[in-house]
């Protein structure tokens, strides 16, 4: 199967990949404002997909001891401690301040210093504090770099518009790994192959919702047809803004973004990078035509250079 994904926004990735009469594209809307950091999603994913445990290591990164998405962590819950007011507690407080500079103290610091870093102290020393939690997952990009670059066709686009690795075809070339602009897919050290969230392809086939969404007690992870999710998310953001939570923003919901919109998108309360997400990801293959042009012209230059070397040698 040859799969390529287009680069125009608003495409139907399943149809692009040759699925006819396919079901609607599905995905996740993860509303981090209601996440309670229970990690049920992480555990449910591992249980359902028999993903190995990732080793026991106290990281000092707040309550996050699995660090990030990887071959053995397909759902990952981030924890960010910040000296910023609880949402809406002090409605107007932090909108004119430099959120990035503030957030830096809570999260950009290395784990070893994370707790100790003296932060810009609030007047009364304490109280201005919030704890963000967010469950991250493969974005199932409309234009998925991992899929584009995969040389074996192991990564493919399903009829649901999701992106899945076929373990029996993956040759462990590792190409998809640096290609993913979100740092999602990763190589499992023992077998060298690439692993990531399948959006529970096996469950979708049986009409079940993905294990992580099923386990989420607060509906922070919402699963469904992408169109509906995008509408719902839009409404939710508006509500939050109305309620004074000006920080609320959608991430990955825009079909015009660099990856053509994510199949799994998020409602965040801070800049994406605070959560370890790239602020403006672009599918690398968007620039591939230009790359090929430069490769061709460089090759020609090389040939020309060789010709010149012989011409020069003859002249001398």
């Amino acid at each position: 199967m040859t799969t390529t994904s287009g680069t125009e926004p608003g495409v139907d990735p399943a149809a692009e990949s040759g699925h006819r009469d396919h079901p609607p594209r599905v995905g996740f809307f993860t509303d981090t404002t209601v996440c309670i950091g229970c990690k049920a999603c992480e555990v449910a994913c591992k249980e359902w997909n028999a993903v190995p445990d990732d080793g026991l290591d106290l990281t000092g990164m707040s309550y996050d001891n699995t660090v990030g998405l990887g071959a053995n962590t397909w759902r990952h819950v981030a924890f960010i401690e910040q000296r910023k007011p609880l949402a809406a507690q002090e409605v107007d407080l932090h909108h004119d301040t430099d959120v990035l500079a503030m957030a830096e103290h809570g999260s950009a610091t290395a784990p070893t210093e994370a707790g100790m870093t003296p932060t810009a102290p609030a007047a009364d020393g304490h109280g201005e504090f919030r704890w963000l939690m967010a469950s991250d997952v493969c974005k199932h990009c409309t234009h998925a770099a991992c899929l584009d670059v995969c040389p074996t066709g192991s990564l493919f686009r399903t009829e649901f518009g999701t992106v899945v690795v076929q373990e029996d075809i993956c040759n462990g070339c590792g190409y998809c790994i640096p290609a993913c602009p979100y740092g999602v897919i990763d190589q499992r050290k023992d077998d060298g192959r690439a692993w990531k969230c399948t959006l529970c392809y096996d469950r979708l086939g049986d009409g079940l919702e993905p294990a992580c969404a099923k386990a989420c007690p607060t509906d922070s992870i919402q699963f469904g047809p992408l169109d509906e999710l995008r509408e719902r998310a839009q409404r939710r953001v508006e509500q939050l803004h109305e309620a004074g939570v000006g920080d609320a923003r959608l991430y990955g919901a825009d079909p015009d973004d660099g990856v053509g919109g994510d199949g799994a998108f998020f409602l965040l309360l801070d800049e994406p990078e605070v959560y370890g997400l790239p602020p403006d990801p672009v599918v690398t293959t968007r620039d591939l035509p230009r790359m090929w042009r430069h490769v061709a012209s460089a090759a020609a230059t090389l040939a020309a250079g060789a010709a010149a070397a012989f011409l020069g040698a003859r002249r001398r």
Partner: protein, 344 residues
């Protein structure tokens, strides 16, 4: 008991997020916020991340396998050009040496690739599809065309058998060889790794330049005095091209160029440049000395290898530090916002 689902008490309450003040009416003024419109202005040096952890999963390719693969591809491609030129201009010893060199290089590169993959059969998986969006896939096809041509060319030259077929193979290898030398730039650029992706314009030229340097070095090493002039010229061309392309690249990359300029990766990359320059200079200065020729050739080969290794390491470094991912993207957003604001 009634079973009217709409009969829940209190259902008229407005759905909202964190609404401490609702219902009390005392404090919340419900002032509208525009969300995205109010992006804070970020000072250039400020950046944030998740505990300093990388945003990307960096390349998992092994060293020296993959740097060697990049180097050997350049060497092979450049050598095939030298071979063809030598054949046309009647330099049989240089031709044979570069043909054999090309074959050796390409065989080495396949070995490096297979070692990285783990098993030979895994290479074949790549030929089950034809996929222009995957430089690795295209590279595999290219390799499977070029490899046999380079092999036939070398075999014919060494054995003296089937000279016409050998000539055709030599021509074919010279046609595809530049592709082999250049495509690896697309291979690394077609990733999210900042130091690679953002360099996708210049990297092909750096790579072919480096390939020319290597092939030139091989020519110098292999061939006795006199016949090596094209190799010298090729090395000079390569060094110049690589140098020019690198400068351009570093200028355009801005902070993302740091890994090419400093640290271990920067040192490797610089060492590659210096060795290439030294090798080229030595080749010209010691034109009549066999020893100087051998030394220069070795320097050129090493220079090319170090350049590729430097590029490889720079990619790793840029993926491992989130600032190379976040800052340029932030800048991009800011630039875009600056462009958009007046028009709306």
């Amino acid at each position: 008991m009634t079973t009217d689902p709409d009969s829940r008490p209190g259902r008229e309450a407005v759905t909202g997020g964190t609404t401490a003040e609702r219902g009390v009416g005392a404090r919340g003024d419900g002032r509208r916020r525009k969300g995205r419109g109010e992006q804070p202005v970020v000072p250039d040096t400020e950046f944030t991340s998740y505990y300093g952890k990388p945003v990307l999963n960096g390349p998992v390719w092994k060293t020296p396998d993959v740097p060697a693969y990049l180097f050997l591809g350049g060497l092979a491609g450049g050598s095939s050009l030298l071979a063809a030129g030598s054949q046309i201009t009647g330099r049989p010893r240089l031709a044979t040496a570069t043909k054999v060199g090309a074959l050796g290089a390409i065989s080495g590169s396949v070995v490096a690739l297979v070692h990285d993959l783990g098993r030979p059969a895994r290479f074949l998986n790549m030929l089950r599809v034809f996929k222009p969006t995957s430089p690795m896939n295209m590279g595999s096809w290219l390799l499977s065309v070029y490899g046999p041509l380079a092999g036939a060319s070398a075999a014919s030259a060494v054995t003296g058998l089937l000279p016409r077929a050998g000539a055709a193979a030599t021509a074919g290898a010279a046609l595809t060889g530049p592709g082999i030398a250049a495509y690896t730039a697309a291979l690394v650029s077609d990733t999210a790794v900042p130091a690679w992706h953002d360099a996708h314009r210049e990297l092909p030229y750096v790579f072919v330049g480096s390939g020319a340097v290597a092939a030139g070095g091989l020519g110098l090493l292999a061939d006795p005095d006199g016949d090596a002039a094209p190799a010298r010229g090729f090395a000079l061309f390569g060094t110049g091209l690589e140098f020019a392309a690198s400068r351009l690249m570093e200028r355009r990359l801005g902070m993302v160029a740091e890994p090419y300029e400093s640290g271990r990766s920067g040192a490797l990359f610089r060492a590659g440049e210096v060795l290439s320059a030294l090798g080229t200079a030595g080749a010209y200065a010691g034109r009549r000395s066999r020893v100087a020729g051998v030394l220069s050739g070795a320097a050129l080969l090493a220079g090319s290898a170090l350049t590729k290794w430097g590029v490889f390491e720079a990619g790793r470094v840029s993926a491992a530090d989130p600032k190379y991912t976040v800052v340029p993207q932030r800048q991009r957003l800011r630039d875009r916002a600056a462009h958009e604001t007046p028009s709306t």
